[in-house]
Symmetry: C2
Subunit: 187 residues, 2 copies
DNA sequence: GCCGCTACATTACAGTCGTAATGGAGGTGG
DNA sequence: CCACCTCCATTACGACTGTAATGTAGCGGC
C-alpha cells in the first residue's frame, strides 16, 4: 500500500467530506466528482470503497449520527451537573453553532428530505429521535418535572425548530435559556 | 386563445403540480419534464410562463406560503373560540394531516433545504415565521400566559418538529393536546 | 518469475438536466 | 389580407449525472 490506513478510515474521511459539502454547499447532495475532490481522491476511489452512491450517503448519515449520539451521551453522563445544566448542554450540542455541528445538522436535514421515500432513512430518524427522547426524559425526571415524557417530546421538537432557525436565521435567533425556563421550573 | 384562463391561472396550476410532486415524491425538486407532465402541459409552456426554473420554484413557494398564511389567519380570526381552541386549530392547520397540508409541508421543507444558500428563500422563511409568531403570541396573550413571546417561540419551533415527525413517523407520532397542555395552563 | 490481490486512476457511456431555438396555431388590429 | 402578437409544442444542445469498464502500481505468497 502507498499509505497506511486503518480499516474504513477512507470511508469516514469521505463521510466527513460529504458533511462539509452539505454544510457549506446547497442543501442538495453533491455529485460524486465534487465529493471526490473534497475528499482529495478520485471517483474511482469512491467506487472502490462504496458499491453505490446511496450506500455512501447512508454511511455518511450513520457516521454523523454516531458522532452526534456519542457527544450527546457524553453530555448526559455528567451526573455531577444539574438537570438544567445537562439539558442546556444537550441542546447546545445539537445546535449548529460550530462547523462540526453545522455539518451534522446539514446532513440530518438533507437526509430528512429524502426520508419520506427511502424507509431506511426514516428508520434512522426514528432511532436517533428515540435516543434523544430518552436522554431528555431522564433529565426531566431528575428535575421532578410533572410530565417528563411530554416535556421531553416538546423539547426534542423545539430543538428541531431551533436547529433550522439557527441554520437559516443565525445563532442569535435561538434563546436556549428562555426555552428551558419555560419547560423547567426555575431552580 | 384556445381556452379561457384568468391571469396567472397557469402559474398557480404549475405551482400546485410542484407541490403535489414534492409531497408524494422524493424530497428533492422534480425536473422540468416531470413538472410539465404533472401539470398536464409541456416544458415549452413552463418556459413561456416562467423565465427560469428558479423563478418557478420561488413562485411555487410563495403560492403555498400564501395559501398557508391565509388559512392561518382564518383560524386566528375566529374570536369566538378560546385561545386554546384557536391554538389547537393553528397547529392542526400546519401539520401535514391531509394532502393539501402535506404538500405545503413538503414544499416548505424542500425550500428550507435550499434556503441556506439562496437568501431569497431564507427571507421567505423569516417572514412566514414572523407571521406565525405574531398569531401564536396573540393567543398566548389572550390566555394570560406569563411570557407569551417565549411560549410562542417554543410552540412555533415545536410545530417545526411536529411537522417532520408527522411527515416521517406518521400522524400518531404527534400529541397536539399534550403539547398545548404543557404550554398553556389547563382551562 | 509469476500469480493474485488490493487500491486506486482514467476513460467511456448512457441518461438526465435546464434551457435555447425554432415553428406553428389562433386571435387581433390595421 | 397581412403583419403581429400570445401561447404553446417540438427539437436540439451542451453540461452534468452515476456508474461500468479498463488499466496500473505496489505488495505478499510460492
Amino acid at each position: 500500500m502507498r499509505e497506511r490506513w486503518m480499516p474504513d478510515a477512507r470511508r469516514t474521511a469521505v463521510a466527513d467530506a460529504v458533511g462539509r459539502l452539505l454544510m457549506r454547499g446547497h442543501g442538495t447532495f453533491p455529485g460524486m466528482r465534487e465529493i471526490a475532490a473534497e475528499a482529495g481522491v478520485t471517483t474511482g476511489t469512491l467506487q472502490h470503497h462504496f458499491s453505490t452512491k446511496e450506500e455512501m450517503l447512508l454511511f455518511a448519515l450513520e457516521h454523523h449520527c454516531r458522532r452526534c449520539a456519542d457527544r450527546l451521551r457524553a453530555q448526559s453522563g455528567e451526573d455531577a451537573r444539574s438537570p438544567r445544566q445537562v439539558l442546556s448542554a444537550i441542546v447546545r450540542a445539537l445546535l449548529p453553532l460550530d462547523e462540526e455541528r453545522a455539518a451534522e445538522t446539514s446532513v440530518a436535514k438533507a437526509f430528512m428530505s429524502h426520508a419520506t421515500t427511502h424507509p431506511g432513512f426514516a428508520e434512522h430518524y426514528r432511532a436517533q429521535r428515540e435516543i434523544l427522547l430518552d436522554l431528555l426524559r431522564e433529565q426531566f425526571e431528575r428535575a421532578d418535572v410533572p410530565r417528563p415524557a411530554v416535556a421531553a417530546t416538546i423539547l426534542s421538537q423545539a430543538i428541531d425548530g431551533m436547529r433550522t432557525d439557527c441554520l437559516l436565521l443565525g445563532p442569535d435567533a435561538v434563546q436556549i435559556d428562555a426555552v428551558l425556563d419555560q419547560l423547567l421550573p426555575r431552580a
